[in-house]
Amino acid sequence: MCLGIPGQITRIISARERRAEVAINGVRREVNIACIADAEHPAESCVGDWVLVHVGFAMSRISAEEAALTLDVLTQLGEAQLEMDRMRESGRTGPMA
């Protein structure tokens, strides 16, 4: 949750609501881009950008090279797999029957 994970913005779902689809390590998920979209970078122009995603929010724009290196270290630390599991399992687990 503190280290984040890099992803690439593939599509804007709603520019007004700052919702975008981001490909993170091969998995697509909705991410909020309110912290990286501004007058200089309108939401529509963010497609293709690499970002660092923390708990569902793009917090920083990064270079493609930085994204690759970061993913590499996260994989070595075991954090990338954990983060993917967290995304996959999010909200699925209801009460134990």
Binding site: A34, G56, Q76, G78, G91
Partner: protein, 381 residues
């Protein structure tokens, strides 16, 4: 040594290790006692253990593993409050998975779930908000947790809940702040620190300016560091260079991610939704002034602390736990009496065993269980 070869640029790493030793020899304070450099952030702690960075340093440089792992400093009383809220029959309690196993005085959230409470792990507070929209007849509570890195996410989610008029969503706010905590550490008589590695992702949000009091008032150097192994070595080198040149300043090794002014949109959201608490309780460290935030009056409808009457008791840690002394760097993890015996990552007694960013779990997982003789530079290169 095998670790250096795992670095992205082993050549550079070897050079840095050598020069760290040269610089350490130039620092007068290091003649009498080892220099104590604190990495505040749990992400740094994890990298340091994984890559054996401590073993590369000369004996005159010691790392103190700070309290910057939000899961590790959650006090028992707050975990009990979570369990109390989660056990209300109308509640769906949502949390980051990291917090599930933190021990409370009665049970952890994982144990509460096993005994019938509807506790669900979420990746993002936005997922918790979606669960609230999907379950209008239930009360959905999100456990807001973390430093300034995750604070904007919670703030923006509360703003979205207000916009979308989601009436059955609230946040149990346990967000904590970095700078008052660093100040408390600097004011504590328990330790004599010589410099700080500043947290990278907190700084991505708050920028570099808020750290200036550390250099200006306390005369300690700060280097804001990335979390790749080479980032950490380079940041340590920058700290030693300042110490050797008798300078103290705030330097930014992680400028590729950390803008000096921080992230304006994120800071705006934090400012709108949160206000500073008078004090907040930390596991092991006790109460620290201004070290947490609560939800502003305007958003009272989204504040679980007001919607549910939480006991909010302060509960002492089990006697055997020495998490506080480890957090303050007074003892090393393996010196805790229950380390590796009664307290392991499988059955954590203290919270430093719960998260991979906790110093005890990091020591345990990477097998640095005792004070191994640090490798000399000859062995390293």
């Amino acid at each position: 040594m095998r670790y250096v070869d795992e670095f992205r640029d082993p050549e550079k790493a070897r050079y840095l290790v050598k020069d760290i030793q040269r610089l350490a020899a130039l620092i007068p304070a290091a003649a009498n006692r080892p220099l104590q450099l604190m990495e505040f952030c749990g992400g740094h702690t994890h990298t340091i253990f994984k890559y054996g960075i401590e073993q590369m340093l000369p004996p005159s440089v010691e790392l103190v593993h700070g309290p910057g792992c939000p899961v590790c400093v959650l006090p028992m009383g707050r975990v009990d409050d979570c369990v109390a809220i989660a056990e209300c029959p109308e509640v769906i309690f949502t949390t980051f998975g990291d917090a599930m196993r933190v021990p409370g005085s009665r049970k952890s959230l994982l144990q509460a779930k096993a005994t019938g409470a509807d506790v669900r792990m979420v990746y993002s507070p936005l997922d918790a908000l979606a669960i609230a929209r999907d379950n209008p007849d239930r009360e959905v509570v999100f456990f807001g947790l973390g430093f300034e890195t995750t604070m904007p996410a919670t703030a923006l989610t509360i703003l979205a809940a207000e916009r979308q008029r989601v009436a059955n969503f609230s946040v149990f706010c346990n967000h904590i702040t970095t700078l008052p905590t660093i100040k408390a550490i600097l004011d504590s008589s328990d330790m004599e620190l010589d410099g700080f590695l500043g947290p990278g992702h907190v700084s991505m949000v708050i920028g570099t300016h808020p750290y200036h009091f550390i250099a200006g008032h306390y005369h300690k150097p700060v280097v804001i560091a990335g979390f790749e192994p080479l980032d950490i070595l380079q940041s340590l080198w920058m700290l030693l260079k300042q110490l050797a040149e008798r300078r103290c300043a705030v330097e930014n090794q992680y400028a590729r991610i950390v803008p000096e002014a921080g992230n304006t949109q994120a800071l705006d959201a934090i400012q709108q939704v949160f206000e500073i608490r008078e004090y907040f309780e930390w596991r092991g460290l006790g109460s620290i002034d201004h070290s947490g935030v609560s939800i502003r009056n305007r958003f009272a409808a989204f504040d679980a602390e007001r919607r549910f009457s939480v006991p909010n008791l302060s509960i002492a840690d089990p006697k055997a736990c020495q998490c506080g002394e480890v957090l303050k760097g007074v003892i090393k993890p393996w010196e805790c009496k229950v380390f590796g015996g009664a307290c392991t990552p499988e059955t954590p007694l203290g919270s430093l065993m719960v998260s991979s960013e906790g110093a005890c779990a990091a020591y345990f997982n990477y097998g640095k269980m005792s004070g191994e003789v640090p490798a000399t530079v000859e062995e390293v290169s």
